[in-house]
C-alpha cells in the first residue's frame, strides 16, 4: 500500500499545477509559431527553428543556468521584473518557465507535423472563398491541427512532469514551494532510510505518465474514428 507524507501530496499537486500551467501558457504561442514556421517565408527562419529546438539537445541544467542568468536579480529580465515588484526565481513560476522552455520544442514539433500535412489547396480554397489569412487560420488550420495540438500538449505535459535539471537550478528544491515529484525523489534518494518514500513517488510518477499516454491514445483513436 502506498503511503504519502503531506510533503508528498504537495509535490504531486505542485507537479500537476506546474505542468498544466506550462502547457496552457505555451499553447497559444506554440500554435502561432508553428503557423509562422509552417506557412511563413522570412529571413532568419532557420535561426528561429534552431532556437526553438535548442532545448531538445541542450542539457536541461544549461537551460536552467541560462534562465537563472536571465531571470536572476541581476539578470536582464529579472532586474526589470524586480523593479516592477515581481520575483520569479525560486518560486513555482520559475518551475513553470523551466518546464515551458524544455517542453516547448515537443509541442511545436507535433503541431508542425500536423499542419504540414494539411492540404495546401484547402487553404487556397478558403482564401479564394473570401477568407482573410487570420480567418483561414482559425476556421481551417486550427480545426485541422487538433490532433497535433492534442498530441503536442500531452507530450509537453508529460515532459513537464518529469522536468528536473532546469527546475532545480532556477526554482530550487523548496518543499511545499518549488519541490515537484522528481525533486522530492532526488531528496529522498539522497537521505538514507527514505528508499520506500522515493519508490512510492516513483510509482506515482509512473502512474501519471502511463495515465497521460493512455489518455492520449484514447483521444487519438476517437479522432481517427471521427475523421
Amino acid at each position: 500500500m502506498l503511503t504519502f507524507s503531506p510533503a508528498d501530496y504537495e509535490a504531486i499537486g505542485l507537479s500537476v499545477k506546474v505542468a498544466v500551467t506550462a502547457t496552457l501558457f505555451s499553447l497559444p504561442l506554440g500554435f502561432l509559431l508553428s503557423y509562422i514556421l509552417t506557412y511563413g517565408t522570412f529571413r532568419g527562419k532557420m535561426f528561429v527553428e534552431v532556437l526553438i529546438n535548442l532545448p531538445l539537445t541542450l542539457p536541461p541544467v544549461v537551460i536552467g543556468y541560462i534562465l537563472l542568468l536571465l531571470l536572476g536579480r541581476h539578470g536582464w529580465l529579472g532586474g526589470m521584473l524586480e523593479a516592477a515588484g515581481i520575483r520569479i526565481i525560486f518560486t513555482w513560476k520559475a518551475a513553470v518557465i523551466a518546464s515551458a522552455v524544455v517542453g516547448f520544442p515537443l509541442l511545436v514539433r507535433s503541431m508542425r507535423i500536423c499542419m504540414e500535412s494539411i492540404d495546401r489547396q484547402l487553404i487556397h480554397a478558403s482564401r479564394t472563398l473570401g477568407a482573410h489569412w487570420y480567418d483561414t487560420l482559425f476556421t481551417i488550420i486550427l480545426p485541422l491541427s487538433t490532433r497535433g495540438i492534442i498530441a503536442g500538449s500531452f507530450l509537453m505535459f508529460a515532459r513537464s512532469l518529469g522536468e528536473f535539471g532546469a527546475t532545480i537550478i532556477v526554482a530550487g528544491n523548496i518543499p511545499g514551494v518549488t519541490q515537484t515529484i522528481p525533486l522530492a525523489i532526488y531528496d529522498y534518494a539522497a537521505s538514507p532510510g527514505s528508499e520506500s518514500m522515493a519508490l512510492t513517488l516513483c510509482v506515482v510518477s509512473l502512474l501519471l505518465s502511463l495515465g497521460v499516454l493512455i489518455f492520449h491514445e484514447v483521444i487519438n483513436k476517437k479522432l481517427t474514428r471521427r475523421s
Partner: protein, 351 residues
C-alpha cells in the same frame, strides 16, 4: 468578362510569361500538364504573385508590379473549382457550401442557397459529412461552394481530371448550366480537347510557359486532327431513339443514325472519330456499315500528313479525314457530293 494579363513568373528553369487580352463568358485554357496553366490560374486568383507585370479583370487592376498593387485573393472575387474537390473535411456539406457565401459582401449576393442546392441536386446531402460522398458528389459540392461565394469569375482548374468517364459526363452539364443559370463567366482549364469542346467556345493555347494563340475551340480541334492519335472527334447529339434490329435508330439533323451503343434515353451524345468515316464517290451497292449518309463537302484543310474534310450532312456537320491520294482519286473539293460510310459500332457514348 474581360481579362488582360501581361505578367511573368519565374521558377528557375521554367518561366511563365503570359501576354493576352480576351473577352468572353466561357474561355478555355488548353495545354499539356506542366505547360504553365496552373501558374496562370494562380496568378489570376492571387495565389501566386507574378514577378512583374499587370493583371486586369473587367477594368479593375488586380496586380501591378510597377505600382505595387496586389489585391489579396479574398478580395478578388475569383473562386476556383480545383481538380481535387478540396472540401473542408471538418465541415458538413452545408457548412462547406456556406463558407464562401457567409464571407461574401451582402451587396454582391445574387445567388439563392436553395436554388443552387436544387440546381446541383444536393438537397439530400446537406447534413452529411464530406468524407462519405462519392467523387461526383464531392465535385458538385465543390462547384456549389465556389458559385455561392458569388464570384465575378470562376476558375475551373481541371475539375474533371480526377473523375472517371461516367462521372465526368455527369458533371459537365452541371458545370455549364450552373454558371449559365447564375450568370458567372468562367475560365476552364484542361489538357483534354474533348472537355474543352464540351465546355467553352474560345480557347487560349498554352505551351512551354507561353500563350501561343487565342482561337475558337472548333478551329483548334480541326488543326489538331493530323497530330492526334484519335483524329478529330465529332460530337454527335442525337434524340428520339427507337429499337431496330438490335440497334438504336436516332434522329440526327434531318435524317437518322444507326448506333449500336444506344439506350432508351430521349437524348444522347456520341463521339465519332474522323478516322471512322469512309468517304465514297458513289453509293455502294452492298456494304456492312449501317450508316450511308449523303454529304456535300464544305471545306478541306491540311493537318499534318492528313486532309480534313468538313461535310454538310442532312442539316448537320461531320469532319472526316483522308490522305492526299484519296483526295485526288475522289476529286474531293468544296461542293463535291459524297457518301459518308459509318459503322453502327463506331459511335462511342459519352457518359
Amino acid at each position: 468578362m474581360e481579362i488582360s494579363i501581361n505578367a511573368e513568373k519565374n521558377y528557375g528553369d521554367f518561366t511563365m510569361a503570359a501576354d493576352i487580352k480576351m473577352a468572353g463568358e466561357r474561355i478555355g485554357v488548353f495545354g499539356k500538364s506542366g505547360c504553365g496553366k496552373s501558374t496562370l490560374v494562380g496568378m489570376i486568383a492571387g495565389l501566386i504573385n507574378p514577378d512583374r507585370g499587370e493583371i486586369y479583370l473587367d477594368g479593375e487592376c488586380l496586380f501591378d508590379g510597377g505600382r505595387r498593387i496586389n489585391i489579396p485573393p479574398e478580395r478578388r472575387r475569383i473562386a476556383i473549382v480545383f481538380q481535387k474537390p478540396s472540401l473542408f473535411p471538418h465541415l458538413s456539406v452545408r457548412s462547406n457550401l456556406l463558407y464562401g457565401l457567409k464571407r461574401s459582401n451582402p451587396e454582391n449576393r445574387t445567388i439563392d442557397f436553395d436554388t443552387l442546392v436544387n440546381a446541383l441536386n444536393l438537397e439530400r446531402l446537406l447534413d452529411r459529412g464530406v468524407n462519405n460522398l462519392s467523387g461526383g458528389e464531392k465535385q458538385r459540392v465543390s462547384l456549389g461552394r465556389a458559385v455561392l461565394a458569388n464570384p465575378r469569375l470562376l476558375l475551373m482548374d481541371e475539375p474533371l481530371s480526377a473523375l472517371d468517364d461516367t462521372l465526368k459526363y455527369q458533371i459537365i452539364p452541371y458545370l455549364r448550366s450552373v454558371s449559365e443559370q447564375f450568370g458567372i463567366p468562367y475560365l476552364f482549364i484542361s489538357h483534354s480537347l474533348l472537355e474543352m469542346r464540351l465546355m467553352v467556345d474560345q480557347v487560349m493555347v498554352v505551351s512551354d510557359g507561353r500563350i501561343e494563340e487565342l482561337t475558337t475551340v472548333e478551329r483548334l480541334a480541326m488543326a489538331r486532327l493530323g497530330h492526334s492519335p484519335v483524329g478529330y472527334i465529332n460530337l454527335i447529339r442525337v434524340s428520339s431513339p427507337r429499337r431496330v434490329d438490335g440497334m438504336f435508330a436516332y434522329r440526327w439533323g434531318e435524317g437518322e443514325l444507326f448506333i449500336s451503343a444506344g439506350n432508351d434515353e430521349a437524348e444522347a451524345c456520341f463521339e465519332l472519330s474522323s478516322k471512322d468515316i469512309i468517304l465514297c464517290k458513289q453509293h455502294p451497292e452492298a456494304i456492312s456499315a449501317r450508316n450511308l449518309l449523303a454529304c456535300r463537302v464544305e471545306s478541306t484543310f491540311v493537318s499534318g500528313n492528313r486532309i480534313g474534310v468538313e461535310l454538310a450532312c442532312g442539316g448537320d456537320r461531320l469532319v472526316a479525314e483522308v490522305v492526299e491520294p484519296a483526295v485526288r482519286e475522289l476529286g474531293i473539293e468544296k461542293g463535291s457530293e459524297l457518301f459518308a460510310v459509318v459503322k453502327a459500332v463506331a459511335f462511342r457514348r459519352l457518359g
